[in-house]
Subunit: 586 residues, 2 copies
């Protein structure tokens, strides 16, 4: 398995040359932040991801997690790497400084998060869920709960979980029926069965803090009758230390396609003691507090695994000697030329590279907007919130679909060896496949984009996103690329606006196509913008690499937008025409 | 895991209504064959696939194969199902009647082969390799070798293997360096290390017959110095029974992404006794005897797994209740509507169905041409050979790429449950992934299509394929669809001819796009043709189901051809522009 190396040069290009991060921090008033500090954070994050986390990835897949006497054990090295992670403060990067968080801007944290997902997705997941729990507790919990739990969740001394799904209630949470019974002391007894709980149990920390959706007695039916509860694995004693075991247990660990070293648990809450987080019957809104962030994090998982696969494929294509190149012998001293010289292999690698780097640019643009939301309080903040809301389903849906394509290419470059586990390429396909499914399937993302984000408020979120991209295009120095980008953006905006007012069934039928159409269009704008910015780089590899990859993207990947566009504005009649029995003639 | 049901209605439609199989058998002089017999074979094949093979699939994946004291054991039930398979004569369907084969037409066998791959791909693989070995021995071996081995390979009493790949020689067999040393008695001692050997050892039969590529002393370098040898696991005694163990052994079983119940072996030949098959230094040509057949069989593997995934997704979408449909409540008596009512889910299922049924039509057209090749001896035969040669890389490459898409959709319809192994949907993704890799990666298929099949003999194979499809279009009864199909076919033919004379590097860069462009175009013609024929069916589900699915294909999948077309005729300059270090800026 190839050694993961964090893509530092590309990240630094994006931060320094493309986003002008120094000026960005000044503009938004991020005190104490500058390019030097963010580059140092990224360098240290790279070292940790490469040296402490990546080496555990392959063996973690083979060994997996085990449930022994009701407790989960993770693969060798996993707990130790986590302890190093929290000791070095990585878990606290984004945390509230009032609870010992480092309060860093997102643009500093996102590159590190990408590296961690690239290095070892299974290992990374538990800390992602903890970050989500931190957001919910920080925003919605009482001061008393915060005082007891928040610092330790931010530091990572305890981890957090999100308990939403039940066997019969996945995409449709309105169906969930876990119950919470109020007690005289203000606590609640939570009873129910939850599935797909990431990090539901493990051997890393002395406590695990479960956030659980459940219904209060006599609450309204549907999603308006769901409340959020904090249910610790161990109840705290007077000193705030874990003491008595709560009545929550692991029923089993799911046997999955991938992320085998991440314990995905069936959780049984049997009158487990918990406390309300947020208002009664407002649990879904509390969950949505962190939904943008959680969905973006899943997109970053896709980005990371895609990068890891690209690196593996590139290194194999450089080393593996098979056949002569059609353009003429390239390595006469060898019996054959390296695979990298085959045009079809170049096309595969360039597809990996153009998609991965394009998505990284999108991720960093999103991170920049999260910074704006975090640090500003004027009109910029409300605009950034709209952009984030609009781009969230695109980041989640497209980056994870992209990752399945890119990691499958990674197998393909290896030929039959890509199918053998020891090379690690097929693991990336299996691991990343979950990202298309959880935190809302990509179908749910697409319906969210077209049915809510696009059409709500008469297209206001679309306009904010269009304005942001337009401002980037307006600042491009390469006039030819600027014209291309401007035309592309205008076409996307016009097509999007034409959807406002469409029938909901037609929107639902066009949803996935609209998400992909938008993503390929936006990535086209970002690629032209990157190539324009790269021309001023002092690194000749960046200058030429971005220019050539941009040309490839525009010629060979951007046309994909047109197949999606061709069906967006048509009705769903063809989808609805087929009656049930016509599917299988039975 | 949903119970596999063979898609009998669709197969019968293709045979009876679309291919007019009775008339076909009369035209080619396939004595004793008629629609009634082929339908009976298919019904019996369906029963065997559904009842004897499919139930072993899920457990086979979990248990896998084991190497114990140098011998491979397969999962429980696998040997018994194989014994039933050969006892019922399934292995002998296509065999030479002089050696107890049933000599059936391919159009009768291909549907059964699809069902077996759909039911349990791991179990099916060993018999596919045996069929390949039969072809090579039948065509190239001496009468003496045939007398000893052929009947038992045809019946399946012994299985066969193909030993091509070595660790450093995969796509490029010119690099292989296994050796064969001639002995005084006319035999050879074969020495070398082979990898990725399907069915290299197992617990099913009393002997295994290895066909091995190796070099004779002083043979020319490259592919012109490779010969084919028959090397049995057990040498035969005077009565032709397996006796002394030959010096060939299993080094290990590969740990793979999928097909875990199929033993993929590392084989060590240590001066193992063998006999030449075919001429000296003509081994590669002997292998190519069966290459068309083997590659087509791999395409059928893709078709089978796609069908299995479609069935699973359809059944889940019918049962799983989540949310209300955007077109209005469909099941008011339930708490939610079935997934099937969601337009985005319909789109996923229709994509599975349109691709799977389209590929099944292509497979049956190919089977019909194999029948023509088998039974006729005039101009029709040479035309059929050209069509087969042209369509082989398309069947292998497209049907297996299609299967990865379709089986991934199968996961997606299940949401998070699709990622859990017990449902069987993710197994289909893992199992079918190998089909894009072996028997020549799909990149190799694409280069074969554009660099050899299309351009050799001035486009003669293209012309034969165009003529066959034109004759089908000319016979269509629906004039509107006929016009659409004719225009589509003409566009494909014109685009293809425009490639004749292109530079080899540009062809190599366009190869995969040309394969997909051709496949989507041809499937478009076949869908229009099927819908036209279906209008005359007495089964209303076929009439409407084919019409509606054709409309879906034309509207939502056929446009994919245009992205591929957009790059086919351009040069590979953009691929070649990127220099090595620009890939990763290091």
């Amino acid at each position: 398995m190839p050694q993961f190396k964090a893509p530092i040069t590309d990240i630094q290009f994006l931060l320094n040359d493309w986003l002008a991060i120094d000026k960005h921090y000044q503009d938004i008033g991020a005190e104490g932040m500058d390019a030097e500090l963010v580059n140092e954070i990224i360098a240290q994050g790279a070292k940790f991801a490469e040296e402490a986390v990546a080496p555990l990835n392959r063996e973690g897949d083979e060994i997996g997690c085990k449930l022994i006497d009701g407790s989960v054990s993770t693969p060798p090295g996993f707990p130790e790497a986590y302890h190093e992670y929290i000791a070095n403060g990585w878990n606290a990067m984004l945390g509230n400084p009032d609870f010992d968080g480092q309060d860093l801007p997102h643009s500093a944290a996102v590159p590190v998060h990408e590296m961690l997902s690239a290095a070892n997705l299974s290992w990374r997941l538990t800390s992602i869920l903890t970050e989500s729990a931190v957001l919910a507790v920080d925003k919605h919990a009482t001061d008393d709960l915060k005082a007891q739990y928040l610092s330790k969740l931010i530091s990572g001394e305890w981890t957090g979980t999100m308990n939403l799904t039940e066997p019969h209630a996945g995409s449709d949470l309105s169906l969930l029926n876990s119950k919470a019974a109020p007690q005289a002391d203000g606590s609640f007894l939570v009873t129910g069965n939850k599935i797909f709980i990431t990090g539901g149990d493990h051997d890393w920390t002395s406590n695990i803090i479960h956030l659980v959706l459940a219904r209060l007695p006599n609450s309204p039916a549907g999603v308006k009758g769901i409340s959020l509860f904090l249910v610790p694995k161990f109840l705290l004693d007077d000193k705030g230390e874990p003491a008595q075991r709560n009545s929550v247990g692991v029923g089993s660990i799911e046997k999955k396609m991938g992320i085998k070293a991440s314990p995905t648990c069936v959780m049984n809450f049997d009158a487990a003691k918990g406390w309300l987080v947020g208002e009664e019957n407002n649990g879904l809104a509390c969950m949505f507090t962190m939904m943008n962030d959680a969905r973006f994090q899943v997109g970053i998982q896709g980005l990371g695994t895609a990068e890891a696969s690209f690196q593996g494929a590139l290194s194999y294509a450089r080393d593996r000697l098979q056949s002569r190149a059609p353009q003429g012998t390239q390595q006469p001293e060898q019996k054959a030329d390296a695979l990298l010289h085959q045009p079809d292999v170049k096309k595969m690698l360039l597809t990996q590279k153009a998609l991965t780097e394009g998505c990284r640019a999108l991720a960093m643009l999103y991170a920049q907007q999260m910074d704006v939301e975090k640090y500003t309080s004027d009109e910029r903040r409300s605009q950034a919130k709209k952009v984030i809301a609009f781009l969230t389903p695109i980041c989640k849906g497209f980056m994870t679909d992209m990752a399945t394509e890119v990691t499958n290419i990674g197998i393909q470059v290896y030929g039959g060896h890509g199918y053998v586990r020891e090379w690690g390429m097929e693991q990336l396909v299996r691991d990343t496949r979950i990202a298309q499914l959880y935190e809302g399937t990509n179908g749910i993302q697409a319906v969210d984009l077209i049915g809510r984000k696009l059409t709500r408020d008469g297209g206001d979120m679309l306009k904010a996103t269009f304005d942001l991209l337009s401002s980037r295009v307006a600042a491009m120095s390469d006039i030819g690329k600027q014209e291309q980008a401007s035309a592309l953006l205008q076409e996307w905006n016009d097509t999007s606006k034409a959807l406002l007012g469409a029938k909901s069934v037609d929107l639902a039928g066009a949803a996935t196509d609209y998400l992909h159409y938008s993503a390929y269009s936006i990535l086209g704008v970002l690629w032209l913008d990157m190539a324009s910015a790269a021309a001023h780089s002092s690194n000749e590899l960046i200058v030429k690499g971005k220019e050539n990859t941009c040309n490839f993207y525009i010629k060979r990947l951007l046309p994909r937008k047109d197949i999606h566009k061709s069906v967006i504005l048509t009705a769903a009649d063809d989808l609805m025409a087929l009656e049930d029995q016509q599917y299988d003639y039975v």
